[in-house]
């Protein structure tokens, strides 16, 4: 099997579903690029090149560049989804949700309930998240806890190239509105990814390491850091079960609760701001439903309650890393 980057995996997922279903259209700012300009078409293929090449195969009718009007085009994607298309809209950075969130959480997410079950809204919003690119406070946030908070949305956070392809294909085939989070620092990461289409179901966690001492739950980019910490500690005889829930909504509660029942210890790693985030969500789940199994305090590893700083040294301190995870594991294992 060929090694492919996260970027390529996502691109393949989009291409395969566009080939398969003529109702799938993609849209976003410069997802092709070059509209009205004298030079090349498909000049950008997305701000970081993720959608490059799709214009050539599918044309301007299905690869839709947009003006900078997130409310209008994310809302249009929602409206198109409710009327027969299966749009994949790109919200370039999730940080920009503040100019268009209404169309996602009050419109797309609630159609089905408000309309008494009569709406089907197969919308996918792809979006970039996360720190690490020195992109500062307004281009580095995670914000997936806010989407997870909203009933009616599904939220996907792939942790690798293989995961990204399978989960994105699932998202496009899914009949509910899905927000798909791509970590901007992960696009170049490679692993083996099949050429053909495959799906990874939502709400089924992936256990990336098995161990006896501590259960570690981590999301997105944090999964690899958790694995690194686990690998290191394994050499000292502290073994961890590392869980990648893949989707925060739906959440595979059973796997988390079972694994905590087995180890009796929990560390949750979340790159999002610490208040009302996924670390609190998982910790609370366990404190309510696996309390009797717990042998030690739950430990949350998150950034501090600050905006994301610009300066490299500060940003590196801000992001939870393998060292902090390692220390948290040691603490609960002690």
């Amino acid at each position: 099997m060929a090694k492919k980057s996260v970027r390529q995996a996502i691109n393949e997922a989009l291409a395969s579903e566009m080939r398969r279903d003529p109702r799938v259209v993609i849209m976003g700012e410069d997802i092709a690029g070059g509209m009205g300009a004298p030079g090349e078409d498909d000049a950008w293929g997305g701000p970081l090149g993720v959608t490059k090449g799709l214009l050539g195969e599918f044309g301007r009718d299905r690869v839709l560049d947009t003006p900078i009007t997130e409310s209008a085009f994310i809302g249009a994607a929602a409206g198109a989804a409710a009327t027969g298309l299966r749009p994949v809209a790109e919200l370039m950075f999730v940080d920009f949700m503040g100019v268009c969130f209404d169309q996602i959480y009050n419109q797309a997410a609630k159609f089905r309930y408000m309309f008494g079950g009569k709406a089907v809204t197969p919308l996918v919003v792809r979006t970039m998240y996360g720190a690490g690119l020195r992109a500062a406070s307004q281009h580095s946030q995670c914000l997936y806890p806010m989407f997870t908070h909203i009933p009616g949305l599904k939220v996907v956070i792939p942790s690798s190239a293989y995961e990204a392809k399978g989960l994105l294909i699932q998202a496009i085939r899914d009949d509910d509105p899905v927000v798909f989070f791509e970590h901007k620092a992960m696009y170049d990461e490679e692993e083996e990814v099949p050429d053909e289409a495959y799906t990874i179901p939502f709400g089924e966690a992936n256990i990336t390491r098995e161990g006896d001492d501590v259960t570690v739950v981590a999301f997105g980019r944090m999964v690899q850091f958790a694995n690194q910490a686990a690998d290191k500690l394994a050499k000292e005889g502290i073994t961890c079960t590392v869980i990648d829930p893949r989707t925060t909504s739906p959440l595979d509660e059973d796997t988390i609760l079972e694994e905590v029942a087995a180890t009796g210890r929990l560390v949750v790693v979340d790159e999002a701001s610490p208040r009302c985030n996924m670390a609190t969500d998982i910790s609370a789940l366990v404190a309510q439903r696996a309390f009797s199994a717990l042998k030690a305090p739950v430990r949350m590893v998150t950034p501090p309650h600050t905006p994301v700083p610009f300066a490299a040294d500060l940003e590196d301190l801000y992001i939870p890393g393998p060292a902090q995870i390692e220390q948290a594991i040691r603490e609960v294992a002690a």
Binding site: L64, A72, G75, A76, G79, A80, T83, G152, D175
Partner: protein
């Protein structure tokens, strides 16, 4: 264009249905049995009906918080609407949506909307679907004078133009957004705003069904022909408060009674049709009787209908989860 007798009858029936529906809701609300926020469309009937008479089930509309009239004009089941507004299990939305969220996608009605300016982006999407799948459909966004100031509305004008979508924006300017006059809150005007996006636009007297119907027909034809979006600035009047419970102290005390006397769209319609000898008085009377029965029955059956059951709380959040 001269409308067929059938269309005239349909238009009158719909306008009358809306009027009686809304006046009845006004009374029912006063009994305390209708929950929540209710915004009545009475007085504005010629707009919704004048526009929607040009549409079919293949076409979509997106409505506002003041949505009952648009629903009826687009062909939603009137009894189902009444049940919904009373919060009944067999309402159009199973009692989960209520007045502010009535929808019927099968009729091309994408929902009233609790968010001012919520509809225009959605309608761009319906238009995109029509364009992409080649359904021949068009899409209409109704928006108030107040809603015409929302960024979402203005972004949608631009997007519809840039994407050349079959959209008609209908700005229903009833002079007020809540207790605020549009003469104060809307700088410039809608027609000139549309011109700023190269979108053809016209102002029209929204008390005059025929005038609305005519400009809407042109706009719908333009959209169906693939010639892109249009905007209609419809000047009209609401007869009741912003919502039920509004004392309307911001209006002249006799403002509404004067409007009812001089500008009533149903009166104007009848007068015009009578003068032209297009329909018989008896035909109006028959419709009036039908409508009275329809609304009476709708209220009676809504009052008698069962409320949702406890398990309904948890259903319809996702298709699958």
């Amino acid at each position: 264009m001269q409308l067929s007798r059938e269309d005239l009858l349909k238009a009158y029936r719909q306008m009358k249905t809306i009027r009686v529906f809304e006046e009845r809701l006004h009374d029912e609300f006063a009994t305390g049995d209708i929950p929540g926020f209710v915004h009545l469309y009475a007085g504005e009937e010629a707009s919704g009906v004048g526009v929607c008479l040009n549409l079919n089930d293949n076409d979509y509309i997106a409505s506002t918080h003041r949505g009952h009239g648009h629903c009826i004009a687009k062909g939603c089941d009137v009894s189902g609407m009444m049940h919904e507004i009373f919060g009944r299990a067999d309402g159009l939305c199973g009692g989960k949506g209520g007045s502010m969220h009535i929808a019927d996608l099968e009729r091309g009605m994408m929902g009233a909307n609790g968010i001012v300016g919520g509809g225009p982006p959605l309608i761009c999407g319906a238009a995109l679907t029509a364009k992409t799948l080649g359904t021949g459909g068009v899409a209409v966004a109704f928006v108030g004078d107040g809603g015409s100031n929302q960024g979402t509305t203005m972004e949608s004008l631009n997007l519809a133009k840039v994407w050349n979508l079959p959209v008609i924006f209908v700005v229903e300017d009833n002079g007020y957004a809540e207790a605020t006059s549009s003469s104060w809150a809307v700088a410039g005007d809608a027609v000139r705003r549309a011109a700023g996006y190269d979108i053809p636009a016209q102002q029209v007297d929204g008390h005059d069904f025929f005038a609305v119907n005519e400009v809407a027909r042109e706009a719908v034809e333009r959209a169906r022909a693939g010639d892109g979006p249009s905007l209609l600035h419809v000047k009209l009047s609401r007869y009741y408060g912003h919502f039920e419970g509004d004392a309307m102290t911001y209006r002249d005390p006799d403002e509404v009674s004067k409007l009812r006397q001089d500008k009533d769209c149903l009166d104007l319609f009848q007068k015009r049709v009578n003068e032209a000898g297009l329909l018989e008085p008896a035909q109006f009377e028959e419709i009036d009787r039908d409508v009275a029965t329809l609304i009476d029955d709708a209220v009676a059956s809504a009052r008698a209908a069962p409320v949702p059951s406890a398990q309904d709380l948890l259903t319809d959040v996702y298709v699958s989860y």
